[in-house]
Amino acid sequence: MSVDLSQFHQVFFEESYEGLDVMESALLNIDLSEIDDETINEIFRAAHSIKGGSGTFGFQEIAGFTHVVETLLDLIRSDQFEMKADHVDLFLKSVDCIRTMINQLESGTPCDMEVADELKAIFTVLLDGENATSNDSNEADLIADANAQDSQSGVEGWQIYFKPELDILRTGNDPVRMFRELSELGELSVIAVTDEIPSITDIDPEACYMAWNLTLYGSATQEQVNEVFEWVVDDSELVVTPLILQAEVLEGTQENPAIEDASDENEIISVDDESDEMAASDAVDVKSSVVKKVVAKKEAKTENVSIRVGTDKIDDLINMVGELVITQSMLSELGKEFSIEKLPKLMEGLEQMSMHTRELQENVMRIRMLPISFAFSRFPRLVHDMSKNLNKKVELVLLGEQTELDKTVMERIGDPLVHLVRNSLDHGLELPEQRLAAGKDEMGKITLNAFHQGGNIIIQIIDDGAGLNKERIRSKAIENGLVSASDNLSDDQINDLIFLPGFSTAEAVTDISGRGVGMDVVRRNIQELNGSVEVESKEGEGSVFTIRLPLTLAILDGQLISVGEQVYIFPLVSIVESIQTHDQMIHRVSGGCDVLRLRNEYIPIVKLWDVFNVKPKHETVEDGLLVIVEGDNIKIAVLVDDLLGQQQVVIKSIRENYRPVHGVSGATILGDGTVSLILDISGLIKLAGVGRDTYKKISDANDNEAA
């Protein structure tokens, strides 16, 4: 077998991660008072696949460790071992351990076996304890294992008995090739056992009635020998016994057969176990999944990143491309003999074409969409572990798990989400005693909710904890010089303070119930995704963090505007309205900033030509147009020369070949091939110097006006 297996490694890693996720979520779902067989089976199957895969690819560290995990699971499965809470934790730790090992393999570093060995020892103790009461086969298993271990050092070779099932030749496995491979490991003698060959009249020419006694001399390890039979071991009778040094053989002729018998029996039993499993109801699953896996491995690309797409989505796409082709051929037909009478038909065709293109585009975008459960799936574990550490009782509710989200967004929203959930758990929810004292249910509740709203996806992290302590946030903010004592802040503004960079100092963490740890980082990460995060909170009742994200990062609905020769693009979602102004609406406040008074609201005016240093057609506010945009909860009125069309634009990175530009989030290519810059509202606000100071001044003026 000279196939280069390393090309399948990535697939194995991905599948193993999936398997581990399955194990993890199933473990967390276990209800100890009434253990569901199907759940245990699920965990067992996942572990079994990982073991099989790692064995195939020669990752013996993982295979070895997973084997003990699997053995205990098998006992639980067959009701020979009672599962307790401790064991669930042990299994969870093992899952972590395997994950770490796979991680290390993936990055090409050698496995750190320290944790694995520790856990393995615990498993062995558990298994040993169980052995006293369980049936002999397991005992024999352990003894045989031990024997194999002990004798490993003195091994001079292996005695192998191999009896394949009748079908072996039909499944494409050729014993001769296996023997040839064995012979590469050392000197090999083969004796065929022909007892079971029927008479020539009864013989099925495609069946294999033979068995073999093989003796392999040399320093090959048991793993190497087993590897040769990797693909057939499940369906065959295979006994591998070490060949002991001649001297020892002489001494222990009495013992040897006994050991051989014991291990002989044991191996056969465990092989039988396997075939029992095949016969059991779930066997079909196992088998078919194995078959599927093989196929998948053949098809898989060697790319590092892959995405799984539902066939329905692909079918949709094929349909749409079909439509497009039809329209295209209709148009080309039309073009062959075109006359002016056919103009309406041409227009109609073009319209259809653009409709199909748009649909196709939307659907192609949908391929990148994954249900948010991918991001949510890690939280049950996180909450489980953390609540234990914190001595809190927490119920986690996940809502809207099927809500779809762009893969890139998903990857980058994970960390902020973890941060927010951890925060809610750590600082939002109170200890059980405190909760009881406050007249609440002892069990705290954290809800993760995801849903679509317009072109956005909204993710909420809701806790029913203590809520934000506004007084302390305010006093802390004053202490840190973020606001002044005389400031009149609304509740929302106070809550918003926790997202300010200066707020997240170590002291703030301990003083103010810890809220604000790196919240500025959370906000920044989310803003990098063109999203926003807000918090609402009621003291004593809990807090709601709301994250708003665009559905995709690749495409944006844009409003084209012009300033002088340049064309810029505003994200359509950030535009509140566009107006033409007159003198009376413009006010000048101290600090040289013009403000626009619109329906009793004062909005600072930002002249785009000024901040971007371009030559405009109209320098004054009266001649141009004001586009009122909102970002970071701040509204500004941007002076532009003209509004052009609206269109969907594909976002291109400018950082790739350049560097970040203040006030610009990206670029796109317009229909005529020119590059146009996409404006970044919060960057623009910063660039124009409309900070909180200005905003405050204006809102002061606002208040005065109102008073």
């Binding site: 971007f612 371009v614 790739e656 070949n657 350049y658 560097r659 610009v664 020119t674 590059v675």
Partner: protein, 179 residues
């Protein structure tokens, strides 16, 4: 751009790919800028293009002319004249843009340099390249690798770095970061 120049460009592009397939050592593509002949490592050159309209970048360093659309990729175009303090000209249909990959700390960035005309491909062995002492104190010196000499003339060899897109005007950078 007329057909003549397109033909010329094609020819040079062909020569480029031929040259690249040869032994990679010390081949330089030379170009003219304000009457002087400059050279860049041919392996860093991706292609040579005619002049196309560019989009200005707000508050960019003054040597950065703007962005161009390189078949769907956004790439900045650098005004080398400005980098070397040569008097500015307005670029137009006769100008040529050399698209180069510039090695930065983390990755490679694709950028274009606007030049007057592309000249030739020369071989310079190490012994033919001398450092240029009189430039070593100036800011232009950071782009100059040395002087290459052939039998009949001398070429200024450039080593382009990320510095091309960095704002050399410290004051404006500070102004921006404060905002």
């Amino acid at each position: 751009m007329n057909n003549e120049t397109i033909k010329d460009l094609d020819k040079i592009n062909n020569e480029l790919s031929e040259a690249q397939s040869d032994e990679p050592s010390d081949q330089y593509l030379t170009f003219f800028m304000a009457g002087e002949e400059f050279g860049v490592d041919i392996l860093a050159v991706q292609e040579i293009r005619g002049w196309e309209p560019i989009t200005a970048i707000p508050n960019s360093p003054s040597q950065v002319l703007g962005f161009t659309n390189l078949r769907g990729t956004i790439a900045p175009i650098i005004d080398l004249r400005h980098c070397f303090g040569v008097e500015a000209v307005s670029y137009g249909s006769s100008s040529v843009v050399i698209i180069m990959s510039v090695q930065t700390e983390k990755n490679e960035k694709i950028m274009g340099i606007a030049v007057d005309a592309v000249s030739d491909v020369y071989n310079f062995s190490k012994s033919n390249i001398q450092p240029s002492p009189e430039l070593s104190q100036t800011k232009q010196a950071q782009y100059v690798k040395g002087l290459g000499s052939t039998d009949e003339k001398m070429v200024i060899l450039l080593e382009l770095t990320e510095q091309l897109i960095v704002d050399t005007d410290v004051v404006s950078e500070r102004h921006l970061s404060r905002g």
